[in-house]
């Protein structure tokens, strides 16, 4: 039976994995994703799933085993964070390029150095060109819902790409929130049976996987991968509509919060959006026309849709929770690109915040809206790029 329960974000991920009951889960512990795997291991030991676990000796091997298992012909899931995904880097590209529909919970955490275990997006943003679909979530419920939808998106025959389901480390992964846990059978029925494509275990039709691909074919294969990622946009929309029909919660490529008549907008990713919504509600009470555009799908990136959603907006503050040293933040770059062909371009500027887990409080978000109000009134963006809440700044 569907039920409301209080659970951590990591716990929600392992519950969802229990419901999905994947064939193989290779995994390696790393904070803050460890609880996902610990809880799931208990489900395996208690016979609540039929999954075979592979307790590998590194994350590089975790992703390598994911690729081998998926190519063999079954459903594969794993979880990691930060340095763990950095160690997978080479294999992330290979998973995507070999078109394996692997689903991974990524509990976002800062990359070293200095070593830090708390939330920022340097891990997933660094992997944005690896060829994975990236879905982000504000809270436990959204992360859980994204994980239910992920296999269906990944395994779509026009897509066949891996999906990374991201949430903020500790802030979401370790904090208890209430959420709707759906009925096991309903989740299983929604996802359906895994369909194979040229499985390695088909000895009657032996396939060669991972061939050497030189100048005469490589670029065609990369182009095919590009088209699959384009198709992923439609698949995310379709699966989200199917999800809404079954479970009642509606998701788009991004969420528009009080955006219709908004003049001043913040664009952000993940947990900080919860506080931003609270601040928007407060300011709306006072008649301030502010809104939020919250990214759900960062890869594929919905350029045209975002441009349309911002058509009447006058100023946009893009919050990046990761750095691209020597450049603007990765989200800012995409937003500016989205707006380049817009007939009425809003003012757009970039703020870096929250690296290594530093909190942004509601008062800080009020400051952002105060600042972009001044920018709009003076018609001048004083600082295109800056850090928020940093000493010596």
């Amino acid at each position: 039976m569907s039920k409301i329960l209080a659970i951590t974000g990591a716990g929600a991920m392992s519950e969802c994995m229990r419901q999905i009951n994947p064939d193989v889960v290779p995994a390696f512990p790393i904070t803050p994703s460890t609880q996902v795997i610990e809880d799931f291991s208990q489900f395996v030991s208690d016979g609540k799933v039929e999954t075979e676990m592979i307790t590998v000796e590194s994350e590089h091997s975790a992703m390598s085993a994911c690729i081998g298992a998926a190519a063999a012909g079954g459903r594969v899931m794993t979880a990691t964070s930060s340095a763990g995904m950095a160690l997978m880097w080479e294999m992330l590209y290979i998973a995507a390029s070999m078109r394996q529909p692997i689903v991974m919970s990524l509990i976002n955490r800062a990359l070293s150095a200095p070593i830090n275990i708390h939330a920022d997006h340097s891990d997933s943003m660094g992997a944005r060109d690896a060829g994975w679909i990236q879905l982000y979530a504000e809270n436990n419920q959204e992360a859980y819902d994204n994980l239910i939808m992920a296999p269906k998106i990944a395994e779509n025959m026009d897509v066949r790409l891996p999906v990374m389901v991201c949430m903020d480390g500790f802030i979401i992964s370790h904090c208890v929130q209430t959420m709707q846990l759906e009925d096991d059978d309903k989740v299983k029925a929604f996802i359906g049976e895994f369909e194979t494509t040229y499985p390695v275990l088909d000895t009657e039709h032996p396939a060669t996987w991972g061939a050497l691909d030189l100048q005469d074919y490589y670029i065609e294969h990369k182009r095919a991968q590009h088209m699959a990622m384009k198709n992923a946009k439609d698949a995310i929309k379709t699966v989200s509509e199917e999800f809404a029909a079954v479970f009642g919660r509606k998701y788009e490529l991004f969420e528009s919060y009080r955006l219709d008549d908004a003049e001043r907008v913040i664009i952000a990713i993940n947990s900080v959006c919860g506080e931003i919504k609270e601040v928007i509600d407060e300011r709306r009470e006072a008649g301030d026309k502010v809104g939020l555009l919250k990214i759900r799908s960062f890869r594929p990136f919905p350029y045209e849709e975002i441009a349309a959603a911002l058509a009447n907006v006058k100023i946009v503050t893009v919050l990046d929770r990761s750095e691209s040293m020597g450049a603007y933040g990765p989200l800012f770059v995409e937003i500016r690109t989205s707006l380049f062909d817009a007939p009425e371009k809003p003012m757009v500027y970039n703020r870096i915040f929250g690296l290594g887990g530093r909190e942004l409080f509601m008062s800080d978000i009020h400051d952002i809206f105060d600042e972009n109000k001044t920018y709009l009134e003076t018609g001048k963006v004083e600082k295109m790029f800056d850090y928020l809440k940093v000493r010596g700044g």
Partner: protein
């Protein structure tokens, strides 16, 4: 065990027309993979290496069995995934036939960059045979030294020069490291002896659990030998005791071949261009050190094997 003639009549795993170098002995063992046993579906995985590159140039493939390559350092892990999915699907009744899994890597991909994933795969107990074809350097990238390169060999990263006699120090003994994993079957074999090799392959494949075979495999360009010399050079590697043929079954050592006469290691070395510089008189101490190491290793092995014989005699 079927005879070599009978085995040759069976369907091989590996087709001709691949792009290995003329005279490369690697296909000797790849062709055997489906010929040494009956009753199993055979699936192979490859680390990035000469064999991987030369057997799978898209859109062609020399592999007649399912085969997967993902990267250089991880065939132990990627084949752990394939083998585990087999068990998962078998448990769910989606597969009924018995399968066996082979992982193949060169010495660079096994002794060095792939050692961790190999160790993990063996320790976890996957039903997997790992074959390392040891040609003593990174041959695919153009003969750079690996931890399997023998002392004194000139490679492109340990060239002989005014101040260097080539690779310094002793090579790593990976076979011993694999014995320390307490797995059911570990062996050293050589491509010059197809009877011994096919028997070892059969034992390794039929074993329920992880097995490891380290296979001496001369490299034509890397060892600087003529294309018709690979088998002869491998034979002398064994006759000189540089590469003892032995197996370790459940931790018990057995030497499979004891040379009939003493052959100095220099007879093996000077068939190869990579040791040519060591013929200079000033390197006699290096040659002595190499000979001494070969004898030390053989004597150590002989003691292990003798203690096993002694124990079994006492039991009987």
């Amino acid at each position: 065990m079927p005879s070599l003639q009978e085995m040759a009549k069976k369907e091989g795993a590996f087709a001709g027309g691949h792009r290995m170098c003329a005279g490369c002995p690697v296909p000797i063992f790849t062709k055997m993979l489906t010929r040494v046993t009956d009753g199993y579906e055979i699936v192979a995985g490859n680390a990035t290496c000469c064999l991987e590159v030369a057997s799978s140039i898209f859109p062609y493939s020399a592999w007649k069995i399912p085969w997967i390559h993902t990267a250089f350092e991880n065939v132990g892990a990627s084949m752990s995934g394939v083998e585990t999915m087999y068990r998962a699907l078998k448990k769910r009744g989606k597969i009924t036939k018995p399968y066996k899994f082979i992982a193949i890597g060169g010495d660079g991909g096994t002794y060095d960059i792939g050692l961790q994933s190999l160790s993990g795969a063996m320790e976890r107990g996957h039903d997997l045979v790992y074959i390392c074809y040891d040609n003593g350097a990174y041959m695919n990238t153009g003969v750079q030294r690996s931890s399997a390169t023998p002392m004194g060999a000139a490679t492109t990263t340990t060239p002989a020069g005014e101040q260097s006699y080539g690779r310094q120090g002793n090579r790593k003994d990976l076979t011993h490291i694999m014995v320390a994993h307490n797995i059911g079957y570990v062996a050293q074999a050589s491509i010059h002896d197809p009877v011994d090799l096919s028997e070892k392959l059969k034992k390794a494949i039929e074993l329920d659990g992880p097995a490891f075979i380290n296979l001496l495999t001369p490299c034509i360009p890397g060892w600087k030998i003529a294309p018709d010399m690979a088998v002869e050079v491998a034979r002398l590697g064994v006759e000189s005791k540089y590469w003892p043929l032995y197996e370790v079954i459940d931790g018990e050592y057995k030497i499979n071949y004891t040379p009939k006469k003493e052959v100095p290691v220099t007879e093996w070395m000077f068939l190869q261009g990579r040791f040519k510089h060591l013929s200079k008189p000033e390197y006699s101490n290096v040659l002595d050190a190499i000979q001494k190491e070969v004898e030390r290793n053989w004597n150590w092995l002989a003691r292990q094997a003798a203690s096993v014989e002694l124990l079994s005699a006492e039991v009987n």
